[in-house]
């Protein structure tokens, strides 16, 4: 009996100890007298510009605000994985960061979820706010027209082409394609002159995820007859089904892959293919052209992931044409990331002050230049060092005129995945463009319901 009782007692004691240590560990952070600001963002081997920005801001901010500690929480992940991690951390005040890097496509849904602090009263008192362009202000708005985030910079998409490859094929430079036919024509010429070169890379399928739409299919779709309303009808707020433009766009992709003017489907579905494109294919002149973001030079600049000084002379950039050259003549997609403050932050003003410091003219200029972003602050855009950062700044900034933004609704991610699936079915020959478009229409209706779609 004695023995049993002692076992029971020690079990209780151990249980108690576990509970106690659990408590102390949990309450430790709040015991600290210093205020702590947690900052969450992406840092990978290919993307360090934001880490540089926050490291600088942390030092300045801590010097200016005594007793405040800024805790940087870089997350090494792809964009998609980062968004998942961020959303999970925001479910509890204990783990939610105070300031974080936020994708414009996730912004409206995250504002609806109550993850983001309404910034209206803070920006109205912020003297720098007038420096931001109207488009940038618009990008930070939630469904209720309040400001929930401040834009760090934006981007556009252009066709990047290899001058040596084009010269070898006898194509006149600078290359300015006016229609889809011009693209196809150039690709065929390249294939004829250098059979070992991949003439035109066109991202497609689920492997490259959202990127395959942004740096691929949307350039086609938004250049068809419905223009900016090709995917989502902004007037009725409904998703477009049954459009000829969708079928035509898939047919273009199909043609590129069937005639072997693009990468093989297996290569195109490799999530890491972009690394080969920047690191090997363009520097070795084994690729004719690809659609890619305005940030492309950041990979090749000094300090980039695939340093290649020759890009200044060897590469050209131009706007992607509309289907038949109809107005506005070119098409591009824009995204961009913002900074936002968590709704659960303990000291909103302090968090906003840190964010404002990170977005100051000097910091924004350094960030835009290092990351080849298109400036959203007027004073940065006018700065000489911004324009001189690389030879392509002028071209990609001009493309802003014809750019489009994705419909950032809560369903967007699922619809984007369906667009990727339709592309993948076409390039892997599992469906004809018509069949893939029909399957897409059916899938969209299943996601948003019959009242959420509009037949065009």
């Amino acid at each position: 009996m004695k023995k049993r009782a002692s076992i029971a007692l020690s079990a209780f004691a151990i249980g108690g100890l576990v509970a106690l240590t659990g408590c102390t560990a949990g309450s430790a952070p709040s015991e600290g007298q210093d205020k702590v600001l947690k900052v969450a963002y992406i840092k990978t081997d290919a993307f360090t510009a934001l880490d540089t920005l926050f490291t600088t801001t942390k030092a300045d901010f801590e010097a200016a605000n005594e007793g405040v500690t800024v805790e940087l929480q870089p997350i090494a992940a792809t964009d998609d994985d980062y968004k998942i991690k961020l959303a999970l951390s925001q479910r509890s005040a204990e783990t939610a960061p105070d300031i974080f890097y936020e994708d414009t496509t996730a912004l409206r849904a995250d504002a609806d979820a109550g993850y983001l602090l309404n910034l209206d009263e803070y920006v109205s008192k912020w003297e720098d706010w007038d420096q931001f362009t109207d488009a940038a202000k618009e990008a930070g708005k939630g469904d209720d027209n309040s400001i929930y985030a401040v834009s760090l910079g934006t981007d556009t998409r252009a066709v990047w082409y290899s001058k040596p490859v084009f010269e070898a094929a006898g194509i006149a430079l600078p290359w300015e394609p006016k229609s889809w036919d011009d693209i196809m024509e150039a690709a065929r010429q390249i294939k004829a002159s250098s059979p070992d070169v991949v003439p035109f890379n066109f991202y497609a399928g689920t492997g490259t995820g959202e990127g395959s739409n942004m740096q691929g299919f949307y350039q086609l779709l938004y250049g068809t007859e419905l223009g900016g309303d090709s995917l989502y009808d902004s007037e009725t707020s409904k998703w477009v089904t049954g459009s000829q433009g969708f079928i035509d766009s898939l047919a273009f992709v199909d043609e590129l892959y069937t005639e072997e003017l693009a990468l093989t489907p297996a290569q195109a579905l490799d999530p890491n293919i972009w690394k080969s494109i920047f690191g090997e294919m363009f520097p070795n002149a084994t690729l004719g052209a690809t659609i890619e973001g305005s940030y492309t030079p950041s990979f090749w600049q000094t300090g980039g992931s695939y340093e290649w000084p020759g890009y200044v002379d060897d590469m050209g950039a131009t706007v992607f044409p509309t289907q038949n050259g109809q107005n506005p003549g070119g098409v591009s997609m824009s995204g961009g990331w913002t900074l936002a403050v968590g709704a659960k932050t303990a000291d909103p003003q302090l968090a906003f002050d840190f964010m404002a410091m990170a977005l100051s003219k000097d910091n924004a200029l350094a960030y835009d230049n290092e990351n080849s972003q298109i400036a959203v602050r007027k004073d940065v855009a006018a700065d000489e060092s911004y324009i001189a950062a690389n030879p392509f700044v002028r071209t990609v900034t001009d493309i802003v005129e014809v750019t489009n933004f994705r419909p950032a609704t809560a369903d967007y991610n699922q619809i984007s995945a369906e667009v990727q699936k339709a592309n993948e079915a076409v390039i892997t020959d599992k469906a004809s463009p018509e069949e893939a478009a029909a399957a897409y229409d059916k899938a969209i209706e299943a996601i948003v319901g019959p009242e959420g779609v509009i037949q065009k």
Binding site: M1, R4, A5, I7, A8, A11, F12, I14, G15, V18, D80, I84, A87, L88, R91, A106, A109, D110, D112, A113, G114, Y115, G205, T206, G207, P265, A266, Q267, L269, D270, P271, A410, N413, Q414, A417, K421, E424, A425, T428, K430
Partner: protein
């Protein structure tokens, strides 16, 4: 004989106890209850970390909870809607089918057969051979899953080891992960999991008394007859237990598949765990994802019940 001798003694001892039983019973009950106390922490831990998530998963599957958007902060009770959607989802039957192929192909059949085969061979083999082969096989098993997954990715990918070996023989291999995703992940899981079955069977075979197999040999039973009629019936319980363990482990394999193919191309290697992950996290539908997880839970529970039933008569 012994029973007869013991019987009177037994009744003799019992009598005084039953006389005072009415007073002593509560004490005995308390003692009995006291014995449960050391189990309490374990039970509490089980409830918190095992039953908790299960209950949450079942509850979540009846809501439209999501990772972001309005439903993230205010999930609504939507009844069986997620399950109705699941039944009508064309990917779901495919996913069940792929999970079944994966589990049967890589665990129930291959790991079992290969594990038993290796264990039998090792009984006969030279000690040095046993030690070196055993080490190599166990190495695959003790590797962290993420490392094993990368090793397999590097082996099967387009420029991977396998295709380089084939190139030495003048053959051009396909992109295995793209053209034969199920084949690649089944082989990878077989490679990784065989060690477990091998070790279980080695232990079981060591317990088969040599005199029985020797007796069978003297009775004229050949090698295959001895295996089928003597050895296998004697380790039947181990086979059932091992099959249960490896099939349950394989049913929930995620990292290996996610790293190698991420469920692709298309949905061609999307087993249930991958489908649940995609829906819950990639598309933010936590409610729908947990519905898939709950279905997996039920399938796992059915498997367990079947195996436990199969074990029962042997124990008596």
């Amino acid at each position: 004989m012994t029973a007869e001798v013991l019987a009177p003694q037994d009744t003799h001892v019992r009598r005084p106890k039953s006389n005072s039983g009415s007073r002593r019973r509560p004490v005995r009950e308390i003692v009995k209850a006291m014995r449960m106390i050391p189990l309490l922490p374990a039970i509490l831990i089980m409830i918190t970390f095992l039953a908790g998530p299960i209950i949450w998963s079942i509850y979540g599957s009846f809501t439209n909870a999501s990772l972001t958007g309005v439903n993230a902060s205010n999930p609504q009770w939507i009844g069986f809607e997620n399950y109705l959607k699941l039944v009508n989802d064309p990917v779901f039957p495919l996913s069940i089918w792929l999970t079944a192929i994966f589990t049967f192909g890589s665990a129930v059949i291959s790991q079992n057969a290969l594990g038993l085969g290796l264990a039998l061979l090792m009984q006969k083999a030279d000690k040095k051979v046993t030690a070196s082969v055993g080490t190599i096989i166990v190495a695959a098993w003790i590797l962290p899953e993420i490392v094993a997954a990368f090793v397999c990715y590097a082996y099967f990918s387009l420029d991977g080891t396998l295709n380089q070996i084939l190139a030495n023989f003048g053959m051009t291999g396909p992109n295995w992960l793209y053209s034969f995703p199920m084949f690649a992940i089944i082989l990878a899981n077989l490679w990784r999991g065989t060690a477990f079955s091998m070790m279980v069977y080695q232990a079981a075979l060591n317990d088969v008394p040599p005199e029985i197999t020797e007796a069978a040999m003297i009775d004229g039973a050949g090698g295959s007859k001895r295996l089928l009629l003597v050895t296998i019936p004697m380790i039947k319980n181990t086979i059932v237990t091992n099959t249960m363990l490896i099939s349950l482990l394989t049913l929930s394999v995620f990292t290996l598949i996610y790293v190698m193919t991420a469920g692709g191309p298309g949905n061609d290697s999307t087993t249930l765990p991958i489908l649940a992950y995609k829906e819950a996290f990639r598309f933010s539908n936590i409610g729908y994802g947990t519905a898939i997880a709950t279905v997996m839970l039920i399938i796992g529970a059915i498997f367990s019940v079947v195996y436990i039933r199969a074990l029962r008569p042997q124990k008596d």
